[in-house]
Symmetry: C2
Subunit: 562 residues, 2 copies
């Protein structure tokens, strides 16, 4: 192996690092300089190896808005998935795997004006198909198609949106969604509480630091609009203005309602009286229940009754302290019919080193009187600068801030499919949550970097190297022995590799143990095992000499596998 | 929960079962009759629930050639992946995740006439893209694009081919590939042996029963053609005729060579003298090495030298008894440049119940003199009826027969990309294998059915049910306690579910333990735990009464988790 591959590898690694640093908006000048120096060492620097933009001709790149996940990134994502799956399964979910494309008709009319973001497959004869836009519509199609009336399912898969990619913020056209949904006619708020209980456990298990789950109810929001005098036809439009309150001052939202959308100022002010309210569940609930005007609206009463049930159940689940009843939460999708929620990561909290992030203390009700203080933002809002709101909580955004999960109850979506197919018999009420894998990934990557943990792209435990004349069969034979014992083992696939090249390979991959095969030791029936403590561990320490018959036991003990 | 969902669910389960039985070409008449009876119980049988073919109008179905993997099928696939990943990682591979679509130019000119099977994305403005056809070309693109000169990587992902689907044989348009490749300039046959050693361990670990890995070398094959007098331009075309020998009699292959492809009969006979040879590695090798005529061809000498090295290494890996040197193996893809191989499942062997399938005894060299016995098939061939040959070994086929993995050395593919991008400096030699997940799935499913193991779509360990007045909070609270201890727990999400409905839910999901919450026991601070032995376990056995504070320990012990 020449010295070139390692330079190319180091450049590739450095490119990934610089990209991450830039995403995190931090200083990458040292890394850029290091790369410049490395490139100078290449025989033909800069010739066609790197993508250079689509300037005509043949360019090696991935399509716009897509990226290759390299080994480290893939490994961290797999860990996220595995943590989530363990919890999904513990809560009784099974999983399904649907095609990455659906008949175009299935997706039609589900996403409003975002339908323009759907990727279509070319008409090559046969059916017209499109890439899936989310995992929710395929799930509803699956239920309706199979006549399934109840199911708890999770699904982790990639979805596709022809959105304008913002690579610096990690917003991609191909990205993972991670959904957990409960379909079926159960009793009010019981599946909803199960979802929120699961969500809080999942986010805690991911060790992302502090978070809050904002909860609201579409019926309460609609009731407030009714009370304020919003015409029914304008409900969703005004709702989407309210939804901006977490990143936009009230004055601006009010301007949108009155100037852009023609609402009388008195109506906007009545809305403002309520949508600024937020706080711990029962405390805000009692305040609202005591409001006679509000309770004159039947949908508000229904919503508040649901919330009381929900908070009671969430107390049993032990997650109530993580919940904030937030009347400004509206969420974009039209199809929500009941409670809605969104988990917000608190980026301002210092990264916790403990595996169990402390329950964040929730402030008591904050009622920043929006009607009188037009420009104020709440304390929570100041933490959420740059929050990219998206209707399903999975849009990628700036590192460490904003929504990391979202969802709600959608009781009519499955029925839409059943009805379209001529089967009007069944409604299948659903409630679900979608976790934003890319944001969670960014947060975990930042925390890892904060702890200065090393990144590994592979999990190799032992690297076998030779001193002397190659000893290929001896290395192969020892590798077989170790692998047969379940130990992750590598050796250089050359007949007579140079010793420094082998040390470098072990170091580059951060392999924790090196087994040294050498003529003198082989004669004695031993092998020398050296624990690698860092990249410069190839120094004086000669390691321990272990008899060949004890080597498995020795390594298993060292690796904590005995 | 009404009785309807269970009927719909039972029908869905029955449909899946009937489909599997039909795939296995066995008798499903009892199941069909059971389904007919079940459907009669539905309020509105047959109305739009099931897909009824694309007869215009709105039909709920997946696109042609694609299927939803239901929970049981998804779970079994996940187990296959996890078994393979454990081994891939043990052999030092890292994993990458590339986009599901590539720039159209990247795929162009890689698949010969099969390029017509590529799915194109519609031109919606911007770059022209296509769905990936395999995982090999994206890997080569990844290496060339990042200037990576050495890498051991695995990749599990779906690929797309607009082939004529044969649903009864499980040949789909969207299916999983599972690839392991070693890129880099190493020493002859060392990475190749590493791949074959890994492959044999992987196939053994999957517990699919007996298998053989056929191995050949492109240089030997090409040398035989040279010796026989095949014009260089016809080499690949004649090679593809030879490749049919595992399912076609020599007479037919010879007819193709002479009548269809215009080869003189004497040339065909010279080919036939060699391509019928197969047997254990060293034994056949010695015979070929002793053949002076053959050794007059330099590419044969080079190929035989490689094979001697390879078999020596495979001896160290301990997998030589699983290998058959088979001179009829040619494989379709043009880009192979060195050794080629294909793993064949032996469906005629009785399913073994042991986790370690015995090493199949290989017959000694069989040389069915093709030149004199025109219609004969070898003993191995008779086992391979209906084998669907595909150039990368992942095409789905009839259950239990045929190729389950395939691959070879391809030294020029990465260079093609580097060159196209104007970087002619680097060649990155590669060798790899692709495992046919869908076939492996079919084999495992058949074996499971042969053992009459129950199928579970979820892994729930404890179902909490209530006797008496619902006791929702008590069930919720116990569920939280068990889940906090890592026990997979479910309960019915209703306030006051009927007892028989809860029993049925536990039975339908084959949940091994039921925890019964009842007023009398709650007063005493106990819960009754009942082990479910079968679907009719709700009978006389009342289970064991366990103190609430001991319930975790009790269940963990019972579940083997203590």
């Amino acid at each position: 192996m020449s010295s070139e591959p390692s330079i190319a590898d180091r450049i590739a690694a450095l490119q990934a690092k610089i990209k991450s640093i830039k995403i995190a908006k931090q200083d990458a000048s040292a890394e850029v300089e290091e790369m410049r120096q490395l490139k100078a060492l290449l025989p033909k620097p800069g010739e066609g190896i790197e993508p250079s933009g689509d300037t005509g001709g043949f360019v090696l790149k991935t399509p716009k808005g897509t990226v290759d996940f390299k080994p480290q990134a893939t490994l961290l994502r797999k860990k996220i998935f595995s943590t989530l799956e363990t919890i999904f399964v513990k809560y009784g979910a099974s999983t399904i795997d649907t095609p990455v494309f659906e008949l175009r008709k299935i997706l039609a009319g589900k996403y409003g004006e975002d339908s323009k973001l759907i990727y279509d497959l070319e008409d090559q004869g046969g059916e017209l198909c499109s890439l899936r836009y989310d995992l929710t519509v395929p799930f509803a199609r699956y239920l309706a198609m199979n006549g399934i009336l109840s199911m708890k399912r999770y699904h982790i898969g990639k979805v596709y949106r022809r959105d304008q990619p913002i690579m610096s913020k990690g917003r991609l056209r191909e990205f993972y969604q991670c959904d957990f949904d409960i379909a079926g006619s159960y009793d009010p708020m019981v599946p909803d509480a199960e979802i929120l209980g699961m969500l809080c456990e999942a986010l805690s298990a991911l060790d992302i630091g502090e978070f809050t789950v904002k909860v609201n109810h579409r019926k309460i929001l609609d009731g407030i609009f009714e009370l304020a005098g919003v015409p029914a036809a304008q409900t969703r439009s005004i709702s989407s203005a309210v939804d901006k309150l977490d990143k936009t001052p009230w004055a601006e939202v009010k301007r949108e309602m009155t100037v852009d959308k023609g609402l009388p100022e008195s109506v906007a002010d009545k809305i403002g009286k309520y949508v600024g309210l937020k706080g711990p569940g029962f405390k805000l609930l009692e305040k609202l229940e005591a409001d006679a005007t509000l309770n004159s609206i039947s949908s508000v009463r229904a919503g508040l009754k649901d919330m009381r049930l929900l908070f009671g159940y969430l107390e049993v689940y032990g997650v109530l302290p993580l919940i904030s009843f937030d009347m400004s939460l509206a969420r974009g999708l039209d199809y929500y019919t009941g409670i809605i929620y969104e988990a917000i990561h608190d980026a301002s909290a210092p990264p916790s080193l403990s595996p169990d992030p402390a329950v964040p203390p929730l402030s008591t009700i904050t009622s920043t009187d929006l009607t009188s203080s037009s420009g104020s933002t709440t304390s929570t809002q100041t933490k959420q600068v740059e929050k990219e709101k998206n209707e399903d909580g999975v849009d990628e955004s700036a590192v460490g801030v904003g929504s990391i999960a979202g969802g709600g109850r959608y009781d009519n979506l499955v029925g839409m499919f059943a009805e379209a197919a001529g089967n009007t018999r069944e409604q299948v009420p659903c409630v679900g949550v979608s976790l934003g894998v890319e944001r969670i990934y960014s947060i975990l990557e930042m925390r890892r970097r904060g702890r200065e943990e090393k990144v590994r792209g592979k999990e190799t435990e032992v690297f076998i190297l030779s001193l002397g004349d190659g000893l290929l069969r001896e290395r192969m034979s020892l590798a077989k022995k170790l692998r047969d014992a379940g130990i992750k083992t590598e050796f250089m696939l050359k007949a007579k590799p140079k010793t420094p090249v082998q040390w470098k390979m072990a170091d580059d991959d951060h392999v924790p143990f090196v087994a040294i095969v050498a003529p003198a030791e082989l004669k004695k029936g031993t092998v020398r095992i050296k624990e690698q403590v860092g990249r410069d561990a190839a120094g004086d320490d000669k390691g321990e000499e272990v008899a060949m018959e004890d080597v498995i036991q020795y390594l298993k003990t060292k690796l904590g596998k005995a």
